[in-house]
């Protein structure tokens, strides 16, 4: 019977395994060096904050795997021998396969900062990182001050985590506003303001220059690009992630930034596929990045590769982009594309609740008026509705007119849609006056 080996038990690898199991009775082995059972990486923060125990982050009960005849193997793959279709593990053991799926995920970026390997300097990606954080920052007595470097989604999660233990946090962000490289300035500004209300010392347009250690090799302070030295006990490196593909360097599998794959998620070696964070698309779909490091794309690639392996050769052809996050108390959802620096054909309309905790930004085509995307803060929108509006290129007037159809807020919530409609009409008026 065909044996499918999967390196990585993250969302990508697990989704692939589940769908292969649905479609076939192939032998499946999932390999991970991180934890025996699949857990949700996105929930790591809640364990540190005490909202959940680690076991709650595991979406399936432990009996699930045996019942579905999916073998779990703990171990680190150091070498992939594609001539012999064999994996070599750190402990020297081997495993042979017929098909290999590489779903090895990412690792935190380190940009060669002086002092980046000192004790007390860490990223936040794996279960082990979480355990390390528990050692480095158990409370505000052991950790009197934390510096977070890099204004992305993991950075802000780390800030929120540390604040629940009342650890003072200084947050170094390169852009003019938090996540300013992804969010249009009004949106980014809303989040920046919200971060400050949570007593975070947010340093915008500031980068890390150097990390200084003490005589025990522990972090003592950092020096910023503005020349300031800040004392601290923890440095969180959250300046993005990149594919975890170092173990493939000496194999014949072609890698660039990640494992190079075509539309069918096939690598240059037949019977070897790559999915999830570690894959680098040679022909990315639409405006998407060649490396997509989000939960959803990992899951979708898992669904696709399972089809191909089970005989229905299928291309990875994702639909309308979507994503979501939560910045402290503000939920964020996005559908389609709203660019931080609008493309030349792109117009934005934004509306914000006066107290500044809710906001929506819609992007549409200047000439055709077709809806291109939406960012929403503190207002839940219906994925299905926006997915179809964007793929059907609905007119922005239509979208504004029917916005309540896309409402996903809980019952009895104040609806802002009539205010949004009004604001949109007013903006049209002023636009016309300008012409």
């Amino acid at each position: 019977m065909k044996h499918i080996a999967i390196i990585g038990n993250g969302i990508a690898g697990i989704t692939a395994a589940r769908h292969i199991r649905k479609l076939s009775n192939y032998k499946i082995t999932i390999i991970s060096a991180e934890s025996k059972y699949f857990f949700s990486r996105t929930a790591l923060m809640y364990v540190y904050m005490g909202h959940m125990k680690f076991e709650h982050t595991q979406p399936y009960e432990n009996w699930f795997w045996e019942k579905n005849n999916i073998a779990l193997k703990e171990g680190f793959v150091t070498k992939v021998d594609t001539d012999k279709n064999t994996l070599v593990f750190k402990d020297g053991s081997t495993l042979s396969y017929d098909n290999l799926i590489i779903a090895s995920g990412s690792k935190p970026n380190k940009f060669g900062w002086p002092g980046q390997d000192l004790k007390g300097v860490q990223g936040l990606y794996s279960k082990q990182d979480l355990e390390l954080l528990e050692v480095n920052a158990p409370n505000n007595k052991a950790c009197k001050k934390a510096i977070i470097v890099g204004g992305g989604l993991i950075g802000i999660e780390l800030a929120e985590m540390l604040r629940t233990r009342e650890i003072p946090v200084t947050f170094l962000v390169r852009d003019k506003d938090f996540w300013g490289s992804v969010l249009p300035s009004g949106d980014a500004n809303l989040i920046s303001k919200h971060i400050k209300t949570h007593h975070i010392d947010l340093r915008l347009e500031t980068e890390l220059k150097e990390i200084i250690g003490d005589e025990n090799g522990r972090v003592k302070s950092v020096i910023t690009s503005k020349g300031e030295e800040i004392e601290c006990n923890l440095v969180g490196l959250t300046a993005g992630v990149s594919p975890a593909v170092a173990f493939l360097k000496n194999s014949s599998i072609e890698t660039g930034k990640g494992v190079k794959v075509n539309k069918y998620l096939e690598t240059n070696i037949p019977n070897v596929y790559a999915i999830g964070d570690c894959a680098q698309q040679l022909e990315p779909t639409g405006l998407r990045n060649p490396v997509e490091a989000v939960w959803y794309t990992g899951r979708m690639m898992g669904e696709v590769v399972a089809q191909t392996i089970c005989g229905n050769k299928t291309a990875y052809n994702p639909g309308v982009w979507f994503n979501s996050a939560k910045f402290f108390d503000i939920e964020y959802q996005t559908y389609g594309w709203v660019w931080a620096k609008p493309k030349d054909y792109e117009a934005h309309f934004s509306w914000e609740v006066p107290n500044g905790e809710k906001r929506i930004t819609l992007a549409y085509h200047k000439n055709t008026n077709a809806i291109l995307g939406v960012n929403t803060f503190g207002i839940r929108l219906n994925h299905k509705t926006f997915d179809s509006w964007i793929s059907e290129e609905k007119n922005i007037d239509y979208v504004i007119e029917h916005l309540e159809k896309a409402n996903f807020d809980p019952e009895f919530y104040h609806s802002h849609f009539s205010a949004i409609k009004k604001a949109f009409k007013e903006q049209l008026k002023t636009d016309k006056n300008c012409i």
Binding site: Q58, E134, V304, D329, E331, D387
Partner: protein, 532 residues
């Protein structure tokens, strides 16, 4: 993970679970209120009962309010689950066990040894119950009983912790309205109105039994006991109206409201047990067991209790009906036959329309249970003997002891800090079983999932007090349609990605078990659907 388990022993210190100054003050104030009640239990005679009772109850309420103020005042509106699994009280730690034992002890004394609380059949009450005499006399004109003391403390708990809950969820209007609703129903329907109704009984013409109008049979399993029915019948039009209301509640009002809104209209908007669970029990909701095994046990247990309660009620009613219709319009035979016909028709309807939606074990269970009930009725009917196969009085006593007292009180509430706040509602409540069956099969209510947005984080499952593994559905893009869901809305509130929405929409397409996640190419979605 071992870091979480061992944290209490590590010298490095703990995350901040300590109370702030206001909260410490609040604990002292609350302890004072509790202390007065304790002293009363130990028969300290308070000179001015009205004053001391007022002092005690207001310090209890004020203590809870001050505590909440200390906890939430400085925080943004939003989810407040920080350190829930670190605090001893909310993570089955030492304090949780202490509270559990204290509550359990209180329930045992309350149900079985009220004399230790100061209840006296002759002469005036002493001790704790005596302390409540002035309040009881004020409301109903009668001295207090252990149930009056319990009812008062229950109402105080729902009001005080209700306000705490309102504060905690002030950003969520669904939670706010729902909580105001349970607070209102507890204060008026459960507490004040029945006491005022008792005043009517001062007149010769009335003999109305204590009646909390929102307490519907089979939750109030005693509603059709002979003494109550006699009381209703002998109290003129009002009494008769109340008796009819009791029957209409379960046979007409309940099915209609459940069709439109799901069981939540009752379980998390009206019911007193639900009210206590949602307010005082809120700090324990995450302790419910989410395993598949627990779900299996739940289904067998709760439906068995339902069958037991139906059987018990039929036997009891039957026992006091006559063969001829001189006293009650309904005679024994007519009653039994109509119950059998009603259950038979109900079963046939479910079987005809919804058989495919029932899992195998549910099908067996349904057939088995119907068989038992009809069988017993038949044995009785054809044997012509006077006794039901079990003695009705024994049945009634057994039910009231095991289900009415031990299960719903001692375990259901006493074990809040250990098993979670909805143990009774989930595993034992026959009313919840009826509502749940309907919610699963004939209702517009469902929890909709938002396309592909779920990140499988598990907040929803962790905080579901009914132990529903919400994530299991959400991460597949499936709607959640579970008999046990009480519609508390917390899963939707705690979801960091806005994935869940409680809705009453058309029943068509409510169950979407072959749904696939949104986001991928449309052709693939079709392909996956076909393969299913």
């Amino acid at each position: 993970m071992n870091t979480t388990v061992q944290r209490n022993m590590s010298l490095a210190g703990e995350p901040p679970v300590a109370l702030n100054f206001l909260q410490k003050l609040a604990v002292i104030v609350g302890m004072f209120g509790l202390g007065v009640l304790l002293l009363a239990i130990f028969n300290v005679n308070f000179p001015n009962k009205t004053l001391w009772l007022t002092l005690s109850l207001s310090s209890l309420i004020f203590g809870v309010l001050l505590f909440s103020y200390g906890a939430y005042n400085n925080k943004h509106a939003g989810i407040k689950n920080d350190a829930v699994w670190f605090k001893s009280i909310s993570s089955r730690g030492f304090l949780a066990w202490l509270l559990g034992i204290a509550l359990t002890g209180f329930y045992i004394v309350l149900y079985f040894y009220p004399q230790y609380l100061g209840l006296r059949t002759e002469g005036s009450n002493v001790g704790l119950i005596g302390l409540f005499d002035p309040l009881s006399t004020l409301l109903s004109g009668n001295p207090a009983s252990q149930w009056f003391v319990y009812g008062t403390l229950y109402t105080v708990a729902i009001l005080a912790f209700g306000i705490k809950f309102l504060w905690k969820y002030r950003h969520n209007r669904y939670e706010v309205l729902r909580t105001i609703s349970v607070m209102f129903f507890q204060l008026s329907f459960a507490f004040i109105i029945p006491e005022l109704m008792a005043r009517l009984n001062n007149s010769e013409a009335y003999n109305i039994p204590y009646y909390d109008l929102k307490n519907i049979w089979p939750l109030s399993y005693y509603n059709f006991d002979q003494y109550r029915v006699d009381g209703f019948i002998s109290s003129g039009d009002i009494g008769l109206a109340l008796l009819i209301f009791g029957i209409v509640s379960i046979l007409i009002i309940t099915p209609i409201l459940t069709y439109f809104y799901g069981k939540r209209w009752y379980c998390s908007w009206v019911c007193g047990c639900g009210g206590l669970a949602e307010t005082s029990g809120d700090s324990f909701r995450h302790l419910s067991d989410k395993s598949l095994k627990a779900w299996k046990i739940e289904r067998w247990l709760v439906h068995s209790v339902l069958v037991f309660s139906v059987l018990m009620t039929v036997a009891v009613v039957h026992s006091y009906l006559n063969y001829d219709a001189s006293k009650y319009w309904l005679n024994k035979d007519a009653f039994l036959i109509s119950v059998a016909v009603f259950l038979g028709v109900l079963f046939a309807v479910i079987w005809y329309f919804k058989r495919d939606e029932l899992q195998k074990d549910a099908q067996y269970g349904a057939i088995g249970y119907l068989g038992i009930i009809l069988g017993l009725i038949a044995i009785h009917y054809f044997s012509g003997s006077n006794i039901f196969i079990f003695n009705p009085e024994t049945l009634r006593k057994t039910y009231s002891f095991f289900i009415g007292s031990i299960f719903s009180g001692v375990i259901g509430t006493g074990f809040y800090p250990i098993l979670g706040n909805r143990v009774w509602c989930r595993f034992g409540c026959p009313m919840a079983a009826i509502l749940g069956l309907q919610q699963r099969l004939f209702s517009k209510f469902r929890i909709t999932t938002n396309g592909g947005q779920c990140i499988s984080c598990g907040n929803c499952s962790t905080y579901c007090e009914m132990g529903i593994d919400v994530r299991a559905y959400a991460q597949k893009g499936e709607n959640i349609i579970r008999a046990s869901c009480v519609g508390c809305g917390i899963c939707s509130a705690v979801c960091p990605r806005g994935v869940l929405k409680l809705e009453n929409e058309s029943p068509k397409g409510r169950i979407n078990s072959d749904a696939v996640l949104l986001g991928n190419d449309v052709d693939l979605l079709d392909l996956i659907k076909q393969n299913k």
